[in-house]
């Protein structure tokens, strides 16, 4: 499982990375490995607002669909429009070209409460142990 030192994670397998005064959001390498062959990503509209933990979209494979939840409260400022034509970017580069949305956080301090790589690894290992 790949981690990225510039992001923090949620227990529901999303990540957020501060960039300027906004945050980039995506799903983790572990999440994408559990959702092979992503064929569609349903994203919100720019301007939509969400509170932390609220579902903002869906990642779909041929036989499964997983909801994705915002790591921080805020307003959507941009979408990764490349995913419309090439949703497989989520599988190929989950921390880079496979990003999902940009958020303007209403409380940037929420980021500090997210999991660092070490804590997130424990969450994933506990989840794997359950399977």
């Amino acid at each position: 499982m790949k981690l990225d030192s510039t992001v923090r994670y949620t227990e529901t397998h999303e990540w957020a990375r501060p960039e300027g005064d906004e945050f980039v959001v995506g799903i983790s390498d572990y999440a994408q490995s559990e959702l092979p062959d992503v064929m569609r990503v349903e994203l919100p509209d720019v301007g939509d607002t969400f509170t932390k933990g609220e579902a903002f979209g869906v990642v779909e494979t041929v036989k499964a669909a997983a909801e994705i939840f915002v790591p921080l409260s805020g307003e959507v400022t941009a979408l990764n429009e490349a995913l419309e034509a090439t949703p497989e970017l989520v599988n190929q580069d989950p921390y880079g070209a496979g990003w999902l949305i940009r958020l303007k956080a209403s409380d940037p301090a929420e980021w500090d409460q997210l999991l660092d790589g070490e804590a997130y690894t424990k969450v994933v290992e506990a989840e794997k142990a359950k399977h």
């Binding site: 349903e42 509209d45 869906v58 779909e60 669909a65 909801e67």
Partner: protein
């Protein structure tokens, strides 16, 4: 003979497991006096006698296949070739459901795939699902799809008053509690231009029917462009009579976003009102918002042509509450009937049937228009159904037709459109011979003379 396989011992164990002694204890919530009511039933009789009794009762019915019928309004008496029943009755096919382990039933999936392809050809659309229950549910699903395309942010729906009244009722049932604003249907005299003018940027869709419930053909050229432009992407959904598409330009070729309707005219018979078939087709860009099952073509590990249920992540067994629709089933057997019907007739055969409908209906309309006291609404083009203004309430005319001539008359439009007093919707299909039509016309003339 007892058909219940449980032994007394098994029953005792089950009762012990749930902690009661006697089965009667399960019914303590039902007041005693209602628990074992005396049923006033006659003595048992032999199977033969039951059959004779029921046949006697059935003979009180007038058989729609044995008398001249001019009733349509959404359900039509058409010819069903014998091959339809012969194929669908085969054991391999005789179920209404797509199998729960679908890919093991390649024949069923192939039949549905062929059906989807035929519906796309007929409607001029890009993708069709494996069907809904009937024209009403298919039309309601069109509204739901449009709402989902706009992620429920658009709350307005423009609904033509000439969409089948039952379809409109089902749309209201499906969407109740969603806080929608459904406009357009209040005034039956509203024009298509008026309806288009109601479309704004909050409008998810405009739903029309063509031919509309009154049998008239709408002039659809350019409508889709106007709707898309006015509403910045508002969807146009058109409910159609599939048979009419053999003669007229399908809405798909005119830019409609969803084309759906009642598949009953495609070889299903009247069936006492059901089972029928809702067909449904849309553009590929909306496939993820479309409800229902979808069969796709692929190749198996050995490179052979194979069929699968595809894009199932839209469905409720995977997506639960957020599914595009909570209906994942379809009318499998009726789908097969329509597929056999369309395949047996072919493109030319279907066109011939449609032409017969068109010409016979126009012959009937012209003859009725000559009658004293009757007025035929032929100002607008029509397919196989038209409105006749009668000299008296339709119920009285129909009673005369039935009692004096054993003819089943048309549909009383005042039931749904109070302003349309004495208006009868008359349907003529390939089943109505010229002699039947002449008899109908003479009976109408006789009614007027006796008035």
């Amino acid at each position: 003979m007892v058909y219940i396989p449980h032994t007394d011992e098994e029953r005792r164990q089950m009762l012990a497991t749930i902690g009661v002694e006697r089965i009667e204890e399960l019914f303590t919530d039902i007041p005693e006096k209602f628990r074992y009511p005396d049923l006033d039933l006659p003595e048992p009789v032999a199977e033969l006698e039951v059959l004779q009794e029921l046949q006697g009762l059935a003979e009180f019915n007038l058989n729609a296949n044995a008398v001249p019928t001019f009733l349509g309004a959404g359900a039509y008496r058409h010819w069903v070739p014998a091959v339809v029943d012969a194929i669908i009755s085969r054991g391999e096919f005789y179920t209404a459901y797509t199998p729960y382990q679908p890919e093991i039933s390649q024949g069923t999936l192939q039949a549905i795939f062929e059906y989807q392809s035929l519906i796309c050809d007929l409607t001029g659309m890009e993708v069709a699902n494996a069907s809904h229950y009937d024209g009403a549910t298919a039309t309601a699903e069109a509204v739901v799809q449009a709402l989902n395309v706009f992620r429920l942010k658009r709350k307005k729906v423009v609904l033509a008053p000439t969409v089948h009244p039952l379809y409109r009722a089902v749309i209201h049932t499906y969407t109740q509690g969603m806080g929608l604003e459904i406009v357009g249907e209040e005034d039956a005299s509203v024009s298509l231009d008026d309806l288009i003018a109601m479309v704004d940027e909050q409008t998810a869709c405009l739903i029309l029917q063509n031919p509309n419930f009154l049998g008239q053909l709408e002039s659809l050229a350019g409508v889709a462009d106007q709707v898309h432009a006015r509403g910045k992407g508002t969807l146009l959904g058109v409910a159609v009579n599939p048979l009419s598409l053999a003669l007229f330009t399908p809405p798909g070729a005119l830019g409609a976003d969803i084309v759906m309707g009642e598949g009953q005219p495609l070889g299903l018979g009247l069936n006492f009102g059901g089972p029928y078939l809702g067909f449904y087709a849309t553009r590929t860009q909306y496939v993820h918002q479309m409800a229902g099952r979808l069969v796709g073509e692929t190749t198996d590990v050995e490179g052979r042509r194979a069929f699968v249920l595809t894009l199932t992540a839209r469905e409720q067994h995977i997506r639960r509450a957020r599914a595009t629709s909570n209906i994942c089933t379809n009318q499998g057997l009726m789908v097969l009937a329509a597929t056999v019907y369309l395949s047996a007739l072919g493109k030319q055969g279907l066109r011939q049937i449609a032409e017969l409908n068109y010409h016979k209906a126009h012959y009937a309309a012209a003859r009725i228009a000559e009658l004293e006291g009757y007025e035929v609404g032929t100002a607008r083009p029509f397919f196989n159904e038209f409105v006749v203004r009668c000299p008296a309430p339709v119920a009285e005319v129909n009673e005369h037709l039935l009692d004096e001539h054993e003819i089943i008359g048309g549909y009383d439009l005042s039931q749904d459109y109070p302003a349309m007093e004495n208006a009868m919707l008359v349907a003529v299909t390939e089943m109505n011979s010229r002699a039947e039509i002449d008899e109908f016309v003479e009976a109408l003339a006789e009614f007027e003379a006796e008035e």
